[in-house]
């Protein structure tokens, strides 16, 4: 018994050491730095207590970053999951050229984030972009719109780009789940006279409920942490209209050399992520228990 336990720890040791070095050391380092005034100009950390936290909380930009992060995260997650689910439903039908269709749908997900962002930057260009060109031709707008330069439009524009990039990920997971739904239940519901909507609501959705919840929580974590699209499209601008935690951390740390403040933003970010990870663990645990019971 004791030998077994020792063997367990021995086998776990490499992974634990790796996590400690690669994950926990930088994380605690960040927390440590957030209590110290440190920058490129004064690299020797000076203990500052909660001064950096007070400074950041008093800064108007912090409130903007929080609001933007919420709008961005929930906007992307909601749209990405709805679009992903609807696309999965469509691709779950017996369509002609299904393989080709799936490959086309997967394309945005395969593209590197920076490449996708550059592509959208071209498409959003006020003078030369495809988006304005199409909308003008369709008569939906009268004049070209500066999608990324207008504070009222910029966040919606980066959300659309991120959804385009991310929805195939959600779609893949939903498609796998849909293909595991018990067909006999769907057939029984059809025999009982249930239409497509009724079958979706009463059979399909309950059957993949756990997958939906896990997918939503997972995309919450990934989206909150997403950096590429916003940085390439707007750098958090115009003004701070699209600044979220990752872009603000990068700008403060590498753009202004203020490591202490960047670390403090990082701590707030870690706290939010900790909540989301805990949520994921709870959801995953419940799903596993349900599977065991079933």
């Amino acid at each position: 018994m004791r030998k077994d336990r020792r063997l367990h720890w021995l086998l776990l040791a490499p992974a634990l050491i790796l996590m400690a070095v690669m994950l926990y050391y930088p994380m605690f380092g960040t927390v440590y730095e957030s209590f110290h005034e440190t920058s490129f100009l004064s690299p020797d950390p000076k203990f500052a207590g909660l001064a950096l936290y007070r400074r950041i909380l008093a800064d108007r930009t912090f409130a903007e970053v929080v609001v933007n992060s919420i709008v961005w995260t929930f906007g992307v997650v909601l749209l990405q999951n709805i679009l992903g689910f609807l696309t999965a439903l469509l691709l779950n039908q017996n369509l002609p050229m299904q393989g080709v269709l799936r490959a086309i749908v997967l394309l945005p997900f395969i593209l590197p984030g920076v490449v996708a962002a550059i592509l959208w930057r071209f498409m959003y260009d006020p003078q030369l972009g495809l988006v304005n060109s199409l909308l003008l031709q369709m008569g939906l707008i009268e004049n070209s719109v500066a999608w990324l330069a207008d504070s009222r439009m910029a966040m919606a524009s980066v959300i659309v780009a991120a959804v385009w990039k991310g929805f195939p990920f959600s779609m893949l997971i939903y498609l796998a789940a849909l293909q595991n739904v018990d067909q006999s239940q769907i057939e029984a519901a059809t025999l009982d006279g249930a239409g497509p909507t009724r079958r979706l609501l009463d059979v399909t959705l309950p059957a993949i409920r756990d997958v939906i919840v896990v997918n939503v929580v997972l995309t919450l974590i990934l989206t909150f942490n997403y950096f590429d699209i916003i940085w390439v499209l707007t750098r958090g601008g115009p003004q701070s209209a699209t600044h979220i935690f990752p872009t603000k951390i990068y700008e403060t740390g590498f753009g202004q050399f203020r490591f202490g403040e960047a670390a403090t933003y990082g701590v707030f970010s870690i706290l939010v992520l900790a909540v989301l990870v805990a949520l994921y663990a709870i959801v995953q645990g419940r799903a596993n228990r349900r599977r065991v019971v079933a």
């Binding site: 004064s42 003078q127 500066a146 115009p238 003004q239």
Partner: protein, 405 residues
């Protein structure tokens, strides 16, 4: 027997000699960034080979980093104690690197070697001086901005290009040229340094300052606010989306003939020379009776404090800024004035006109916290281009700038 013994002794002596040279040879790490696709790295490699031939006891290892990653790589290297021996530093970084104690004071070496301000463009030299000490040697320079214009569009609108040199003339021309889906002037206001340097040049040309002589913010002074107000008026004749537009975006429009005037440094000329456009340029713009003042851009060579081979590094810097070398290893304009003259004659249109603008250009504020200062300026420009009150935007910027210690 005797002969073979002699041969053996000779060979042994030669080997010993070779190994002693190898033992004394130092290896220098030189980091540079690549801003353009000019094939410069090949030319630079040849120059490095030449240096190593002249200095067999010094080996140079060149690392070229793409511009967008360069600052982060340098910063991480310094923080991690892995800084190179020598690197090119953007003029606006020198203050911070010097204040942080990351780069060496070169005042004495420069004095002893006879390298002085007169050998270089004054503004470029000043960008390496902090607290009276010299922390870098100017390597290459350029000036923001030249007003490049599309001759066909100006001819069609019957506009005399000389008018573009004055505030009133430029505004009138821009208004006249903004018609039928075409735009007069390419203003940009994204979060980037090109936004700052162009804005600065209008402020300088109107007699304004970014920082006063005592280090306080000068943006609320009348000349600066007037220039900002002018820029706001000018923005009506620019393509939409200024707040997310860069100089690169304006280049696209200029090249496709839908923009009449674009603001770029001399570095733009090779691109325009390859195009089919009929183009020319004037040296920026200023109020009637004043000379336009551009904003210096460029890079300095610095030696890192952590380098164990500072003497060898200094030799390499002296070589790179030499009159017969400097022009071959830069894609902007050599900072060495004599080398610049030859370089401009060979590679640029209207070299004398460019030279005059370079001689008259000003450096950006010399502040260890320049990057934060520039961020405050970008916020100000964005507010102005979004239609905010210039005086209020300048006041907000000054509040942020004066709060920097």
């Amino acid at each position: 027997m005797k002969r073979s013994l002699l041969t053996a002794v000779t060979m042994g002596a030669m080997l010993l000699g070779t190994s002693s040279v190898l033992a004394q040879q130092v290896t220098l790490q030189f980091w540079d960034n690549q801003q353009t696709e000019s094939g410069l790295s090949d030319v630079q490699k040849a120059a490095v080979e030449r240096f190593m031939k002249e200095n067999p006891d010094i080996k140079i290892e060149v690392t070229t980093v793409p511009y967008p990653e360069y600052q982060q790589r340098l910063l991480t290297a310094v923080q991690g104690g892995n800084a190179p021996d020598i690197a090119t530093l953007d003029q606006i970084w020198v203050g911070a690197f010097a204040k942080a104690g990351a780069v060496a004071d070169l005042t004495e070496q420069a004095g002893a070697a006879g390298l002085a301000r007169d050998n270089f463009f004054g503004g470029a030299w000043d960008s390496a001086v902090l607290g009276g000490k010299l922390y870098g040697i100017p390597f290459n320079v350029d000036v923001w901005q030249f007003s490049y214009y599309n001759k066909a569009l100006l001819d069609a609108a019957k506009i005399d290009p000389a008018n573009l040199s004055t505030f009133d003339g430029l505004k009138a021309a821009a208004e006249k040229l903004t018609t039928n889906g075409k735009f007069g002037v390419g203003l940009f206001g994204h979060k980037g340094e090109d936004t700052v340097v162009v804005g600065d040049s209008f402020i300088f040309s109107n007699g304004g300052k970014i920082l006063n002589d005592d280090g306080s913010c000068g943006l609320t002074e009348a000349p600066a606010v007037e220039a900002l107000t002018y820029l706001q008026q000018l923005s009506k004749f620019a393509p939409g989306g200024i707040l997310n537009a860069s100089s690169g975006d304006m280049r696209e429009l200029f090249l496709n003939g839908s923009l009449a005037i674009e603001f770029w440094p001399a570095l733009e000329q090779p691109t325009l020379q390859k195009s089919k456009l009929d183009w020319a340029f004037v040296n920026g713009t200023a109020p009637e009776g004043k000379t336009p003042v551009g904003t210096f851009g460029g890079w300095n060579l610095a030696i890192f404090e952590s380098s164990p081979n500072k003497d060898a590094a200094w030799k390499f810097i002296q070589f790179m800024v030499r009159e017969d070398v400097n022009g071959d290893v830069v894609d902007l304009i050599p900072a060495n004035k004599k080398a610049a003259t030859a370089f401009l004659e060979k590679n640029r249109k209207d070299p004398k006109v460019i030279m005059a603008h370079l001689e008259n250009a000003k450096a950006r504020p010399l502040s260890p916290r320049y990057l934060e200062l520039a961020d405050a300026q970008i916020a100000m420009f964005q507010e102005i281009y979004a239609g905010g009150d210039p005086a209020a935007a300048a006041a907000k910027a000054c509040e942020a700038i004066n709060a920097l210690d």
